[in-house]
């Protein structure tokens, strides 16, 4: 019975996603795409931050690797398929995470945070400096967006916003699902164990450093996916997407939504995008609105919306409240 309800919900969600462009028009369709990109980006940091407590405050690096990876793949390699570009981005993010992972497993807490801020700053400076590679501040632009090709069967034009929407929903949806699946595997449970009590995981015979490294690489890869989708969506990738400020954005979103919960980053991204949109439309002072929103949210729901929800639930039931990080 419960399973049936679950399936029905999934089907409703699926139909809803298919119908979004029909109901809301292209503008909100694109709004949704950028929201979904942010959601995947936030989720990828939630895996590190919320599930394993790797204080990665430099996630824009991986986003950047994804963006540059995809953009350069399309710009340099003729006939690069669109999925290939996304894969390049994913590899880019994953590779960088692999390279940095030996460092990350050695430090934790505030030092890890600072380390990431530091490397992010360096990455950003390099993105600005290595103009032949990155286009600097102006970015890589004008690269071709290839059609989605299944040879001999179908070729869909990806410059059409509607087609791109379905493509993005598919790619991002699958990424989301993969990350969800990742947290549900036995390994995912170990991640949570690492967060709550690393010593105990060690007693149980799992290698904490290696596990942390793996989580880090997975997080980096999916940040790469979101970066590459961002590059495809904008048809431009410039250095400002790799700045430290862009690293804090997904952290804020995750936090506001509810860190350490799967749905949290999604809610957070949606909340942020909507508040920003409303602030921009109806006020002249976007920063003030965003700043006050952050302060109010954090004061009244320090564990984000999901934390608030669980606290309310805990008042009636017995559900434990969220971990503090």
């Amino acid at each position: 019975m419960k399973k049936a309800i679950k399936w029905i919900l999934w089907i409703i969600l699926g139909i809803g996603l298919i119908l979004i462009p029909k109901i809301f028009g292209i503008y909100y369709t694109n709004f949704f795409v950028s929201l979904a990109i942010m959601a995947v980006f936030s989720q990828s940091i939630n895996i590190e931050l919320g599930y394993t407590r790797i204080l990665n405050f430099g996630h824009a690096m991986f986003f950047g690797m994804g963006g540059y990876g995809a953009a350069q793949a399309l710009a340099l390699i003729p006939g690069m398929p669109i999925l290939g570009a996304v894969l390049c981005g994913m590899l880019g993010g994953g590779l960088l995470a692999l390279v940095l992972s030996p460092l990350v497993v050695r430090v934790s807490g505030m030092a890890c945070a600072m380390l990431h801020v530091a490397f992010n700053a360096l990455f950003f400076m390099l993105a600005m400096k290595l103009r032949p590679l990155t286009g600097g501040e102006d970015g890589i632009s004008g690269f071709p967006i290839p059609p989605f090709n299944i040879p001999g069967i179908i070729s869909i034009d990806m410059t059409n916003p509607l087609n791109f929407y379905y493509f993005a929903v598919a790619v991002l949806g699958i990424s989301m699902w993969l990350m969800w699946y990742f947290t549900k595997t036995p390994f995912g449970q170990i991640m949570i164990g690492i967060r709550d009590n690393p010593k105990r995981v060690n007693y149980l015979g799992f290698k904490v450093p290696e596990s942390r490294a793996l989580v880090y690489i997975v997080g980096g890869s999916f940040a790469g996916v979101s970066g590459s989708m961002y590059a495809l969506f904008q048809n431009l990738f410039s250095s400002d997407a790799t700045s430290g400020l862009n690293s804090f954005q997904p952290v804020l979103m995750t936090m506001v939504g509810g860190i350490g919960t799967f749905i949290g980053p999604i809610i957070g991204s949606a909340f942020f995008s909507v508040v920003e949109e409303l602030a921009r439309r109806y006020t002249e002072r976007v920063e003030l609105v965003m700043g006050l929103t952050l302060i109010i949210v954090i004061l009244f729901a320090p564990m984000g919306f999901m934390g608030l929800y669980r606290d309310l639930k805990a008042r009636w039931g017995k559900a434990p409240s969220l971990p503090k990080i």
Binding site: R195, D196, N197, P320, S321, L322, P323, K324
Partner: protein, 237 residues
């Protein structure tokens, strides 16, 4: 009754680490809290001290409700905390470490209170090292410093967490004796969390045994000795 803890519940992250823990300490008494690793002994002390906020339950000290107060208020009420792993201030000299324990920063001139000289009488080794930074002290010396620092606040109750852990056997004995002397000489009550059952048994008037997150047994030394099943259940590995 000096300290009365009733139905304390504490959560850490998502786990319920203290479940309805109740215990009490009488004036002048040494009470030991024993149990295996990870049962919640240290958390009990931290919850009393206010370093961890309990979700529910009450802590009453000298008839005053101190539940959930910030640690400095609990300290001012007369409870001193000797933490595990010593936690002296490594950059401060021994002297400064001791002075850190003085409430309000000014040495009172009242009779019968702890002064640096008095601490040095109890711990002559600290006097020799008065000018050295805390981090250059040996483990045993650090432990003495922590106890001395706690005493500087003239507490009525000492919460002592694993004072002999990681110390050489000779040192263990010395620390034990010091605790005993302090209790005997000044009448300071001690709530002791200890891994070394022998030391604990030799010091304590009464004993609580902790199982996973709860108190499993309470009674005098003799009662415990007469009850091998309980010992096996809570203490032996």
């Amino acid at each position: 009754m000096l300290l009365e803890v009733q139905n304390l519940n504490t959560y850490y992250v998502t786990s319920h680490v203290l479940q309805n823990v109740s215990l009490n300490v009488n004036e002048g008494e040494v009470v030991a809290l024993l149990g295996r690793n990870g049962m919640g002994k240290s958390t009990t002390l931290k919850s009393i001290m206010g370093l961890v906020k309990p979700k529910s339950g009450t802590v009453t000290f000298q008839g005053k409700n101190v539940t959930g107060l910030p640690p400095f208020r609990v300290a001012k009420a007369g409870i001193a905390y000797v933490p595990e792993e010593r936690r002296i201030f490594p950059q401060l000299s021994v002297m400064d470490n001791l002075e850190m324990g003085i409430k309000g920063g000014k040495q009172s001139t009242k009779e019968g209170i702890w002064t640096v000289e008095r601490i040095f009488n109890h711990f002559p080794i600290l006097k020799e090292r008065a000018k050295q930074q805390g981090r250059y002290l040996s483990g045993g010396e650090q432990q003495m410093l922590t106890i001395g620092r706690a005493l500087m606040g003239n507490p009525s109750l000492l919460l002592v967490d694993e004072p002999t852990e990681g110390l050489a056997p000779l040192m263990v004995r010395e620390v034990r004796d010091i605790l005993e002397n302090i209790n005997k000489d000044t009448g300071v009550s001690i709530l002791l969390v200890e891994h070394n059952v022998k030391v604990a048994m030799s010091l304590a008037n009464r004993i609580y045994l902790m199982g996973k997150a709860h108190i499993g047994f309470s009674g005098s030394k003799d009662e415990l000795e007469a009850n091998p099943e309980v010992r096996a259940k809570y203490l032996e590995v």
